[in-house]
Symmetry: C2
Subunit: 376 residues, 2 copies
């Protein structure tokens, strides 16, 4: 892979867009396969648009690849794996994808490896879900096993009376029911891991959710050093348990007694790590590429004392207009990121703002100010 | 220009490549017109390859543009300007380009505006060059008026005996002869300037040349605050004198008595400003796009105390191999940038390394270490 290695990315969302920009830094070539041509990678990447079961299109797309990686874990890999050239490697690998792309399997793997997790039940029927409610108590969080992210495919239920509607709304095929974890704080960290197991963790951050979706991140998390160490150790261990290659986002719960539980992982660059683009020596996107190419990992340290990230979420439907962008760009310390999505929808992630500052509160205020100015 | 404005970039070198990556952050669409298809923008941008006088290709390329900007100032704009849609604007403008793209005209404009400059003579013949030598003394720096950059088109002459060869080597048509300036240090700064004149300057940096070409940059320059203020004021004034829109690189000389002289300007992102990608809140590439789109300029402050940049220069001819990249990537604090040029040539800029650190010496050592590991 000397000269300019080629990484083929399956899926053309904002993670692919930011990977492609990172790739240009270190002389890596990227290409993106996407199902629709109005996504974030249009106009800024070497893009092929086709169906996930179009063997000819995928074969041509994958032919020059040294490594194949993913924009999101729900991609149907069946055809892609069948037509991938023998000289290319899928990273993260098929075993990792099998362990993480179904949330029930993911939780089973964690329990089997002895990772600290909250109480859960896998439920394949409304009947078993009712039993789970009796065992775990309310409120419960219900997650569709596959393709649930960003608040899609998640429901919290306050009582048994809500189970039937929620089960049906999540597809009626099965859910992972999670007992309520009385957390003090939600933490996350990104881990970059090479095929041989060499790994580096980013700082532990505090995450804030709204409507089951990441709203804001504060960097670093205001927790005692021993809590940060425990969270970092858990994240590194989780990356190992799932044999992740590339960058993996690890979401955790901090309990009142200082215990840290694993919530879930995503084997790819992650919303809670977007701040690394503006606040760390090496971004999560560059480190993902380095890791999947088995190149030395970059420095994950912060460039300054504090940072914060606030998402830009859609609140209407129609073509995106990005009104107020000028006012957002005028906020000092802030870096505005827009994903170039053609259409906005209520709840859709359209961009984010990272801000740096002398302390977390200042950074958060700057990021919130800039993000609030933009009506995508 | 609401939604996603389109910037068309004439020229597909590394500056265009880095502009395109910056554009993806703020939701700006870019397209690149280039003469050869093996340049830095292949695989990572929306690229059209054609001749500079191909009116049909340029017309199609420019049709969706809101703003047209330049990768390098030597682009022949004749055809592009003739076929540019009436709704698009060239930035920097034609007057700025006329003032700066010929070094003799550029120097005349500076003198006319009263900017402090060293002694020079415009020479159209070997005869007048000999006279310049007598007037200015030796050594002299000779610059071809057009298309001289990165050591191409520049010669220093130590005595009258070298004039004939140097004059011929520079094309034999005319040169700008510069008397030797006994500088203590070479300084530079980047200025971002909007059409209405609003401007922001980046920190003043110290630059180090090798073979008439930027070798390294230290950020910030180790000069007294009043010198930095004087250099910043001169740079802002120069951006105004040439009515620059976009980012402009301003090179200066610091004399022993604290006086700061203007050396030359380049009306575009500049090698001495590449460090801004890794060490400032807003990079010069993003601020160039903001400025040409007449959007608010981003924060030009440093994220940490110190940084340094060292160029990666070719020393052989052939396809680029980037040997030693792994060792370079392993240097903590360093960010490696490769431009994706297909071929390496002796003296060709193939990439650069920026490093951050607690002080300039540490940052410089890290950048130098990483850059020295790569044999492009």
């Amino acid at each position: 892979m000397q000269g300019q290695p080629t990484v083929a990315i399956l899926g053309g969302g904002q993670l692919a867009r930011m990977m492609c920009a990172a790739a240009t830094r270190i002389g890596v070539r990227t290409r993106v396969y996407q199902a629709t041509d109005t996504g974030p990678c249009a106009f800024c990447a070497d893009v092929v648009t086709g169906a996930w079961d179009d063997a000819d299109a995928l074969r041509g797309f994958l032919a020059p690849a040294d490594v194949v990686t993913l924009d999101y874990e729900a991609v149907d890999l069946t055809t892609a794996r069948a037509v991938m050239p023998s000289t290319a490697t899928l990273r993260p690998g098929a075993q990792t994808m099998a362990w993480v792309s179904d949330k029930i399997v993911q939780r089973e793997r964690a329990a089997e490896a002895g990772l600290p997790v909250g109480p859960t039940r896998a439920c394949s029927s409304l009947e078993s879900l009712r039993e789970a409610g009796e065992a775990l108590g309310y409120p419960m969080m219900l997650k569709r096993p596959r393709n649930s992210y960003d608040g899609y495919g998640n429901r919290s239920v306050a009582s048994a009376g809500e189970l039937e509607d929620a089960f049906a709304a999540l597809g009626g095929q099965g859910v992972l029911a999670e007992g309520w974890v009385p957390f003090e704080r939600e933490l996350a960290t990104m881990v970059a891991r090479r095929p041989g197991g060499e790994a580096r963790a980013y700082p532990v951050v505090a995450t804030y959710q709204k409507d089951h979706k990441c709203d804001a991140v504060e960097i670093p998390a205001a927790v005692p050093p021993e809590v940060a160490q425990r969270a970092t150790a858990l994240a590194l261990r989780a990356a190992e348990v799932y044999d992740c290659v590339g960058v993996v986002g690890v979401e955790m719960f901090l309990l009142a007694d200082g215990q840290v539980l694993l919530n879930e992982i995503a084997p790819r660059p992650h919303n809670t790590g977007h701040y690394t683009l503006d606040a760390c020596v090496t971004s999560q996107f560059e480190n993902h590429l380095r890791a999947v190419l088995d190149m030395p990992l970059g420095d994950t340290s912060l460039l300054g004392p504090a940072a914060a990230m606030v998402n830009i979420i859609g609140s209407r439907s129609g073509p995106s207009r990005n009104e107020g962008l000028g006012r957002a760009l005028a906020v000092d310390g802030a870096s505005v990121h827009l994903y170039g999505k053609y259409d906005v929808r209520p709840g859709r992630k359209m961009g984010h703002v990272t801000a740096v500052g002398p302390d977390v509160a200042t950074a958060r205020a700057r990021a919130a100010k800039a993000a609030s100015e933009i009506q995508p």
